[in-house]
Amino acid sequence: MNSLTPHSTRTRPGKLRASGKLRTWLLGLGGLLAFLAAWELLARSGVVSGALIPRPSDIPGTLLAEIQRGIWQRMVASSLRHYGLGLAIGTVLGMALGLFVALVPILEDLQAWIVRVLRPIPPLAWIPFAIIWFGITERSAAFIISIGVFWINYFATSGAVRSVDKSLIEVSRVFGHERFFARLRKVILPAAAPGMLVGLRTSLGQGWMTVVAAELFGISGIGQRMMEASGLLAIDVVAVYMVTIALLYGLTDLVFVSIERVTLKWTTL
């Protein structure tokens, strides 16, 4: 039929896989470049007014100017503070309450309608309360961010804990782990960890989405700078900060995935 030697049949799949990976990368990059090129052409062709969309080629220069004036660093640093604080508060509370509700059967029913009432309120709707409670402060921004993050972690954790394999809990009982906290630490939390981390990863993205909204009302940060710039119709500056958020999200997600790959190695076996 064909003259493939055993050696070459063995190496082929590996090569195919490697080149497939490269192909995926190149296609992704190509798609992005084509998108930017189309955007640039559209902006230059005069079909759409230059005041309506910035040109991609303007962005590096504008970014450089923002950095040279020190504005970019200041805005990114303060948004990172809000983001970090909001993410931490929302995650800790969401995971803790989600765990609690999943472990205490009666709370399941008690929380049902509270959650149905509170859950659909968008983080932005809390801005008036944030201002009344915390004033125009960084704590206000962190509060707004923490709301979206909270719900994601609450649902992910309670779901993950509820679906822990009961037979493994039985194993730990049989082998002498009589105390609840021993079972929590040795079975429930490790078994629920993958599901809980999916929630955390989703909230990394959700957090960045609300950063801008949380800074709209005058708290220093990326969102505030974007509002300022849009007021002056400096759309290239707005675009610079949009790209900045995309990059910051990409970076946090990348860090998260590489940590997850080490700690949850067992899930991929």
């Binding site: 037979s167 493994l168 039985e170 194993v171 730990s172 009982r173 049989v174 082998f175 002498g176 782990h177 009589e178 021993a182 040795k186 079975v187 490790p190 078994a191 960890a193 190695k265 067992w266 899930t267 076996l269």
Partner: protein, 252 residues
């Protein structure tokens, strides 16, 4: 009598309002004895093991565990489940150490004991693997090592080989017998497989009926290792099978 455990007139039911699934079951295991409880699927064999180790509260009757069981540094029971039930996030070594963590042992003793148990089941080299990296037979061996590591007075085994292929099953049955011979543990083994019972047991306890009860016991004195070719083995299997058929059909 030198009993490790004795069950007296045990009844088991799940819903308080429903009739018991098992009634008036009395059973004892002597020191060093290999007892196999045999019966059809769903007759309550697993429940019996769960009653022995305290996972399931019987509706009536009592469980007596010998005072000698559970000396320091050991646990009265080691449990091998039908599925391996390993913790997938723990390496093999740490899985085997599970039952040692609540005993008064320091870290190096725990490590040493787990390694010995792994060597006993022939997996001394695989301690650093995760369960996901093992074959089905290897995982079941880890489950056996986990139970052996606590140096139990009584090893409870709930159809531990039923999900394995025939060759692996026979190998593990041989290994189990040699491990049993080299330790002073007693075994209470549950199976629906009459040949397996005849191959392993000092005594077969036949469970049948609704509610289930002990219908017959057989003491088997044939030399080990037994073979399916032996006349004694074949006659045991024939007798138990015939009895099981008649008791089951009576109760239907």
């Amino acid at each position: 009598m030198d009993n490790i455990v004795s069950l007296n007139e045990i009844s088991v039911g799940f819903e308080p309002s429903s009739p018991p699934v098992m009634e008036g079951v009395s059973l004892h295991v002597d020191r060093g004895e290999f007892v196999v409880v045999c019966g059809v699927s769903g007759v309550g064999k697993s429940s019996l093991l769960r009653v022995v180790c305290g996972l399931l509260e019987p509706r009536a009757g009592s469980v007596e565990v010998s005072a000698a069981a559970g000396a320091s540094g050991s646990r009265p029971f080691g449990f091998v489940f039908q599925e391996p039930r390993l913790f997938p996030w723990r390496r093999v070594q740490a899985n085997v150490e599970l039952g040692l963590e609540e005993l008064d042992l320091d870290k190096s003793e725990r490590h040493e004991r787990a390694l010995q148990a792994l060597q006993l089941v022939g997996l001394g080299e695989l301690g650093r693997r995760f369960p996901g990296q093992l074959s089905g037979g290897q995982r079941q061996r880890v489950g056996i090592a986990r139970a052996l590591a606590v140096r139990p007075s009584l090893l409870l085994m709930d159809e531990p080989f039923s999900s394995l292929d025939a060759v692996t099953r026979r190998t593990l049955q041989h290994e189990l017998l040699s491990i049993w011979a080299s330790t002073d543990a007693s075994v209470l083994f549950v199976t629906h497989d009459i040949e397996e019972a005849a191959f392993l047991a000092d005594r077969i306890v036949l469970l049948a009926g609704t509610p289930a009860h002990v219908v017959k016991e057989y003491r088997i004195t044939d030399q080990r290792p037994r073979s399916t070719e032996d006349a004694g083995f074949q006659s045991t299997v024939r007798t138990v099978r015939a009895d099981l058929h008649s008791f089951q059909s009576n109760s239907l």
